[in-house]
């Protein structure tokens, strides 16, 4: 199930809220939330739910074991065993086919290619449990003694499918007891509606244009169209993912949880490093705390550490070499930026912002095309194409002109420009305070309209 579906919005969500708020008892609330989370996961993945439950209980046991043997070798062995188990499951289910293809290319393997589908959310919950056992080993958190509570932490439907990667330490106390009031629920409602709007009215609209300009006959497109397609893909990626994170954060609030922010206006970044401090923050922090710093951080082998982190970040995004290339691309950029820091600090902000955007938009090509032949052809088109732009691109730009304006407005970090006590901010908050019930209702209805229309299926696909 996904948040942006009618089934979720109008059946799962109201039912889960009704059950949750039907009792003031925290135990019952946790039981309801766990059951609903499992139903949520099993809606699309009835079989893979057992893998998720196994992962949860294995790490629950590991956590108790590590804590019991704190400061002994057994704790270290337990932690390493748990990490290896988690990574093995991730590698088997996510990278099995990829590894098979690559090994089989050189050596003929005596068994057939694994054909499983990717278990939904495995990349996210694996990192959650890894951070959990490592944090216990480091003595930063206490192990959760109640297996139900731990299963709830792992399976919370708000973060299960697409993150953010929630650390146990962030919601440790909220797992036991949550306080909710009108203000928090209201904030949750607003955040959820904005996220839903971003996903349905921005990302999905951009997605149609991405399909038109990138999923096409590449030998026919002009450089303008190639760049336009990449910009659309950049918009789609950001609004899709950040919209989903907004919805997750909003939904968490509805049930009394506080998740950390996962995006902070990344397209306002003034360097590539700055971009990734604003983009998918929970993933960046995971790699920082569990890979980069243990490798030595900026104290020793700094460049190597950056490369390793970005190579892994690339592969985390998908089991294909283009993702490794994408990660390496950013590794190189990070290292170059680091060495040019003195120069870059002196150039105007506008220049820094522009070069960052160009490099980020270009990187989307490495992310989009999993086929290297297509990628090579497309990059060639980006910089030189004999094709003249079609009339369609102009009509697409004019037909989306207001929409583009809205996209730009939503990418601007207004909260950074107008600080906490800025008069503009305070006045806006007062006005928005009154308007937001209506705004949220309209956003919800608009999203509903577009979701209903997405089910409009006049052309019967005949399965022959």
């Amino acid at each position: 199930m996904v948040f942006s579906s009618l089934t979720f919005l109008y059946f799962f969500l109201p039912l889960s809220l009704l059950f949750h708020y039907s009792s003031r008892n925290d135990l019952y609330r946790n039981v309801f939330l766990t059951i609903f989370s499992l139903v949520f996961y099993a809606w699309a993945e009835p079989m893979w739910i057992f893998l998720m439950i196994f992962t949860a209980f294995a790490n629950y046991g590991a956590g108790v074991f590590i804590e019991k043997h704190t400061n002994t070798k057994k704790a270290k062995v337990g932690m390493i065993a748990a990490v290896i188990l988690n990574l093995s499951l991730l590698v088997s289910f996510k990278y099995g086919g990829f590894l098979y293809d690559n090994i089989n290319y050189w050596l003929t393997l005596p068994f057939s290619r694994p054909s499983n589908t990717l278990p939904v959310g495995i990349s996210f919950y694996t990192f959650m449990v890894i951070s959990y056992v490592v944090d216990i080993y480091r003595g930063e958190i206490k192990a959760q003694r109640n297996p139900l509570n731990f299963l709830m932490f792992i399976s919370l439907f708000q973060h299960l499918v697409a993150g953010p990667i929630v650390r146990y330490s962030q919601i440790e106390t909220q797992i036991q007891r949550r306080t909710v009031d009108w203000a928090k629920i209201s904030d949750g409602v607003s955040r959820f509606c904005i996220g839903l709007f971003k996903k349905v009215a921005i990302a999905n609209v951009a997605g149609v244009l991405v399909d038109k300009y990138l999923n096409t006959q590449l030998y026919e497109i002009s450089s303008y169209e190639a760049w336009f397609g990449l910009v659309m893909f950049s918009i789609q990626l950001y609004f899709d993912f950040s919209g989903y994170s907004d919805m997750a954060i909003g939904l968490a609030k509805l049930f009394g949880f506080d998740f950390h922010e996962n995006f902070r206006h990344p397209y306002a970044a003034v360097s590539v490093a700055d971009f990734y401090r604003r983009w998918h923050i929970s993933l960046g922090k995971f790699f920082r705390d569990y890979v980069y710093i243990p490798l030595g951080g900026n104290r020793k082998h700094h460049d190597r550490n950056i490369f390793v982190v970005w190579f892994l970040t690339g592969f985390w995004h998908g089991a294909n070499w283009n993702f490794a290339l994408w990660g390496t691309y950013f590794g190189v950029l990070m290292v170059v930026e680091k060495h040019l820091k003195v120069v870059l600090d002196r150039v105007p902000r506008f220049f820094k912002h522009s070069y960052t955007l160009v490099l980020i938009v270009f990187s989307r090509a490495l992310f989009y095309f999993t086929d290297f032949n297509q990628l090579g052809y497309f990059i060639g088109n980006l910089f030189y194409s004999k094709n003249a732009p079609s009339s369609g691109i102009l009509s697409d730009i004019t037909a989306h002109s207001f929409w583009f304006l809205l996209v730009i407005l939503l990418c601007i970090p207004w909260d950074e420009i107008y600080g906490q006590n800025h008069s503009v901010r305070l006045k806006t908050q007062v006005v928005y305070g009154y308007a937001r019930p209506v705004v949220n209702a309209l956003l919800l209805l608009l999203a509903t309209m577009l979701l209903v229309n997405a089910t409009f299926n006049p052309f019967l696909y005949t399965r022959f």
Partner: protein, 448 residues
């Protein structure tokens, strides 16, 4: 206070719609979409574990969401608000491939296709909109024509005493009224001529393109629908008559009728306001011939339900169903033309408007929809002493692996459903293909 209002308003919406869904009466079919709406699925552990049950529940909620049609009709306002919309501006829109509905094409529904009508292909890709008319941007590929021609030729070889005709309709892209799209005219022509060049065993080519092209200044295709207008079908009939040695009946010798405000499939694809502003008018002609028609269902050739050649009450989105009442697996038409001649028309929906003109020339016509009929066509042709077999199919479908596979299946199936050979994706061939079409050679290999 505003916080409470915010929360309560949100909750009343997310609770209100499901309550409405539960209490409001449910439609069984969508008139606009011409399809049956999903039914609530029966639960079984097997369907649940395979993930089908949950998908069917999603489909059910999607299909029966309160005020669904109202929401759909309001959507163009959002699209219009995205930017400047120049009235009648020329533009290209991309129709994404629609998701496959789990509830579609159940075997048990094949005998009652009242809502399938003409929706046989999953049109997708680039569509050009000019002056409120929609044209698919493509023109087929001569490579695919070769395979289609080979299949038609196999029929000619199998039935040496029967005349076998290929009467494939071009796409409306052949007649886009703008010079810069003339290359689609050429592409359509090349694709169809490639059929002619590859026909063997005495199979006969009806030059539908040439006849239509000679009248290209007249509007031959609907602007809001993917079918040809009856006038376009008439010129195809003239082309067929020329190739079959028949004298076509003049339009003035038939009864002319008109229907207004037709918004067809192309509007449903695009929901474009300029298309909405240009609904089609359909002029059509009824030959002055008495007929008696029966729908025979997918499996039976003896029993049948009474049917008509012209359904004059079809209107709105169903206007094109005026001809034969839409698509049915098999229809048998007996006419007052007592010349002893019998024809089989193997068609998709493009053939419906064409077939109605043939009643002036045959005593009996078997209309076979190659997608839905499960009967063995060989037996029907042989047992009924058929004289002519006509393949009257739109190019979009004719050039697909699926159709070629189905043409083979029709001739060899035993009366029970036989899966076609490798019909991987029947929809992706006519519009210029991004990838080559795998498996085409295989579909032409005899099964045995």
């Amino acid at each position: 206070m505003d916080k409470k209002v915010n929360v309560l308003l949100f909750f009343s919406l997310v609770l209100g719609f499901p309550i409405l869904l539960l209490i409001l009466p449910k439609e069984k079919a969508s008139k606009d979409e011409k399809r049956k709406l999903a039914e609530f699925p029966v639960f079984s552990s097997q369907s649940y574990l395979s993930g089908i049950w949950t998908k069917l529940v999603d489909d059910y909620i999607d299909d029966h969401f309160p005020y669904r049609e109202r929401f759909i009709q309001t959507t163009p306002l959002f699209h219009a608000a995205k930017g400047f919309q120049f009235k009648n501006a020329e533009r290209v829109v991309v129709v994404p491939k629609k998701k496959e509905k789990s509830s579609d094409t159940k075997e048990e529904n094949l005998d009652t296709l009242s809502f399938l009508d003409e929706f046989e292909e999953n049109f997708s890709g680039s569509m050009l909109i000019i002056d409120g008319c929609v044209y698919p941007l493509g023109g087929g590929s001569p490579k695919m024509s070769k395979y289609f021609a080979k299949m038609v030729s196999e029929y000619a070889e199998k039935f040496p005493n029967v005349r076998v005709f290929s009467a494939v309709a071009p796409l409306s892209s052949a007649f886009i009224p703008a010079a810069k799209y003339k290359h689609f005219n050429v592409q359509n022509k090349k694709t169809l001529l490639a059929i002619k060049e590859n026909l063997t065993n005495g199979a006969i080519f009806s030059d539908v393109f040439e006849e239509l092209n000679n009248h290209a200044t007249t509007k031959l295709y609907f602007g809001t629908d993917h079918h040809w207008k009856p006038l376009g079908a008439y010129y195809a009939y003239v082309a067929f008559c020329k190739s079959a040695g028949l004298e076509p009946i003049g339009l003035d010798q038939m009864t002319k009728k008109v229907k207004y405000n037709f918004l067809g499939t192309m509007y449903q694809y695009t929901h474009d306001p300029s298309v909405l502003a240009h609904p089609d008018t359909m002029e059509y002609w009824e030959p002055k011939v008495e007929t008696e028609a029966y729908n025979l269902g997918a499996y039976g050739t003896t029993k049948g339900s009474k049917a008509k050649v012209f359904y004059n009450t079809s209107s709105g989105g169903n206007t094109y169903s005026t001809f034969l009442g839409g698509d049915h697996p098999m229809m048998r038409i007996k006419t007052s033309v007592k010349n002893g001649k019998k024809a089989v028309v193997i068609k998709n929906s493009m053939g419906n408007a064409f077939t109605v003109f043939l009643i002036s020339h045959y005593e009996e016509i078997w209309v076979v929809d190659l997608r839905y009929s499960k009967q063995n066509l060989t037996r029907i042709i042989q047992e009924n002493n058929i004289n002519d077999v006509v393949f009257a199919i739109g190019m979009y479908a004719a050039m697909s692996n699926g159709t070629i596979g189905m043409m083979r299946r029709l001739a060899i199936q035993s009366g029970n459903y036989v899966a076609p050979i490798l019909p991987e994706d029947p929809s992706d061939e006519v519009l210029p293909a991004v990838n080559p079409v795998p498996g085409v050679e295989d579909t032409l290999n005899p099964r045995q």
